[in-house]
Symmetry: C2
Subunit: 377 residues, 2 copies
Amino acid sequence: MSLDERKKNILKAVVDDYISTAEPVGSKSLVSKYHFNVSPATVRNEMAALEEQGYLEQPHTSSGRVPSDKGYRAYVDSLLKVDDLTQAECDNIRKIMKGSIDELSGLIRQASIALSDKTGYASLALSPKLSQSHLKQIKILMIEPGRALVVVVLSAGVVKDRLVRVPNILDASQLVQIASALEEGLSGMTLDDITLVTVATAARHAQLPDNLLNQVMYEAYVSIKQADNLELYADGAQNLLSYPEFQDVHKAKDYLDILARDGLIAGYLSEMKDESEAGQDMPELDEQVIREAQERKPLSYVVRIGQEIMMEELKDCSFITTTYKMGDIVAGRIGVIGPRRMAYGKVISNISFVKQTLNEQIRRLASSEDRMEATRQ
Amino acid sequence: MSLDERKKNILKAVVDDYISTAEPVGSKSLVSKYHFNVSPATVRNEMAALEEQGYLEQPHTSSGRVPSDKGYRAYVDSLLKVDDLTQAECDNIRKIMKGSIDELSGLIRQASIALSDKTGYASLALSPKLSQSHLKQIKILMIEPGRALVVVVLSAGVVKDRLVRVPNILDASQLVQIASALEEGLSGMTLDDITLVTVATAARHAQLPDNLLNQVMYEAYVSIKQADNLELYADGAQNLLSYPEFQDVHKAKDYLDILARDGLIAGYLSEMKDESEAGQDMPELDEQVIREAQERKPLSYVVRIGQEIMMEELKDCSFITTTYKMGDIVAGRIGVIGPRRMAYGKVISNISFVKQTLNEQIRRLASSEDRMEATRQ
DNA sequence: TTTAGCACTCTAAACCCAAGAGTGCTAATC
DNA sequence: GATTAGCACTCTTGGGTTTAGAGTGCTAAA
C-alpha cells in the first residue's frame, strides 16, 4: 500500500485541481493542465489504483475523481508545500492585529478577525484556559451600599471582575478586610485548587460575624471560578456560503446552526489534544508518508479533515487549529474552518503567522508582569 | 383612495394567507379558505382594485397576488389584531430571561436570545446609551506597578472598567489620590459633558507633578468615554435561512454579511427615532386607516417594512423594534428582523412582553440605586 | 509498461409538452 | 348597479426526452 513518486504527483495534482475548481477532475484535463509526460490512459490507470487504495473517490461511475478524506490527509501530511507569507501579507496581518493593545480578549478577537479576513473562511478563537494560573490578588471595591465589585488578578496578568450583591450593612473597610483575608489565604493557589472550602477557610480570618461573611465569601468564590470561563470568538461564518459545497441552503443552515452553538464548539476546541498528535491516528497511511512527515520540523498546527471532525454537520469541512501561549503554558486555541477542499497551504501559513503574532503581543502585554516574576524567582 | 370594509377584509385575508404559505394567493383559494359570501369573480375585482391602489402586487400577469410594502403597512397599522401571549408563553420567556440577574449586559443578551428563540427570526439588542447618565464614582485600583484598573460608576447603576498602563513609579496611594480628585471634580456630570479639558482640570487638584498626572488623566478620560460604547447582541441570524425567500444562497449571504457588520447595524438602531413616529410617514394611507390607528393605545413599537429599512440587502425583510428604559430615560433598543411576510402579530406580542420583562429586570437591578437617589432628593 | 482506440456510462442542459392555477373581460343575472 | 358564470388567455411548474460532452474501463498493439 505504498505510493510511488508518480502516484504522489498525480494525487497532488488531483487535490490541487479540485481545490481550485471544485469540479471532479478527469485524466485528460489533468495531463493537459499539469503536463505529465504520460498519456491520459496511464493517468487513468494510476487514478484507478489511487481509488482502489482509498485516496480518491468517484461521485458516479463515469465522472472524474475527487479526493477522499484519506486523500486530503496524505496531501496535507506529505505532499503539501507550505510557503511563508509575503512581507506585504505579514504587514497586513500585523496591521489588523495592532488595535487593542491593552487587553487580552481584544487581542484574541483581532486574531480571529485577521484569520477570517485573510483566508476567506470562518475563524474561531478561544479565550485562554486559566485553570492552572494562580491567583495573585483579590480586591473588593464598594460601589454603593449592597453592591460591590470583586476584582480577581491572576498570575498571567489577567484581570477579571464581577459585580455582586453584598449585605447592605457592610461598609467599605469591612469589604477591604475580607478581601485581604481572602488574598492572604488564597494567593498562589491555582484556580483549579480553589474550592468553596479553601475560600471559606481563608475568609474566616477576616474576624467578622459568619452571617455577614457567608454571602460575600460565596460571591467571591463564584467570581474566582468565573475567571476561568471560556469565551469563544467566531468570525466570517457566512463566508462559507460563497463556496459551491454550501449551495444547498439546508446544508448551509445546519452548518451555521452548529457554529452558532458557542458552548459546543468551545468544548470541542478546548478538548483537543495538543499538536503532538499530528501524524498519528492514521494507521492506514504508508510508512514512507509517515517517515517523511516526521522528518519535517514538528508541526505546530492540527488539521482535522471531514469525518475526522466527528460532527455530522461539518463532514464537508476541514478544520485547522493551533494554540497560543501565555508565558510558557499553552493557553488557548485559534483556528479556521473551511470547506474540505480548502486552500490548506494558504490557511496554514496564515494561521502560523497569526499564532506567532498573537504570541508576541501577549508576551508584550504581560511584559511588566514577566519582569516581576523573574526578579522574584 | 379609501378602503371599504370588504376591501379591508380581503386585504387582511391576502396578507394572512401569504404570511402563512409564502405562495401568491388567488381569488378562488381565498374564498374557499376564508368563506367570504361572494364569488371568486367579485374577489377578483376587488383584488384588481387593491392592486390599482398599490396594496397588492402581481409577480407575473397570471399569478395570484402578493402584498406590497404598502399592503403590509396597512395591515400592520390598522388590520392586525395583536393578541397577548398565553400564560405559558410568558412563563417561558421569563424563564429564559431569568439567568444573569446581576449584570446589565447579561440581561440584554438574554432578551435577545429570548426574542430569536420565541419568534424563530433573528434578533438584535443594543446596549444602553449612557451619554446622558452622570458619573457617580471613579476609582483607580493598582494591579501591579505600571498597571491599574480604572472603575467608572454611573448614575444608572452601571459599572464599567478598563485595564490601563500608568507610570511605573506611581504607587497605590497616589492613584487613589488622583481618583478622588477626578471624582470630586467630575461626579454629577453627564458623560457627554465630560471632556479632556474638564478631566484635566479635575486632575490638577491631585497635587502631583504634571508628568505623572498626564498619562493617568488621559487613560481615565478614555475609560470614562468608553463607558458609553454601544454593544450589539445578535442571535438567530441563521434562522432566516429556513424561509423560502432566502433559498437563494447569494441573497442569504448578502443578508448575513450585512448583519455581521455590527457597527452598521448598531448605528442604524441607535439613530432610529423613538416610537412616536409610528403611524407617520404614510401620506398615501387613507384617512380612516390613520384615524383608526390613532385611536388605539399608543404603539410601543416601531415597524419598518421592506424598503422602509433603507438597506438594499434587507429589502425583503421587516424589522420590529422597541426600546427599553433605565430609570425614566429611553436607554436602548431591542428588535426582531424577519422576512417581510413575518408573523407580525406574534412578533409584536413577543417583543412587547420581552420589553416589559426587561424593563422590570433593569428596575430590579437598579433598585438599591433608586432608593439612594430617592432619599437624596 | 505504456498507450491508442473504442464502446459504454452518466450528467447536465435544452427542449417540449401538458396540467393547473390564475387572470381579465363580457354578458347575463339578481 | 353590483354580482357572477363562462370563457379564452397567460404563465409557471413538473415531467419526460433528447443530445452533447466529459469521463471511464477494457483490450490489444506498440
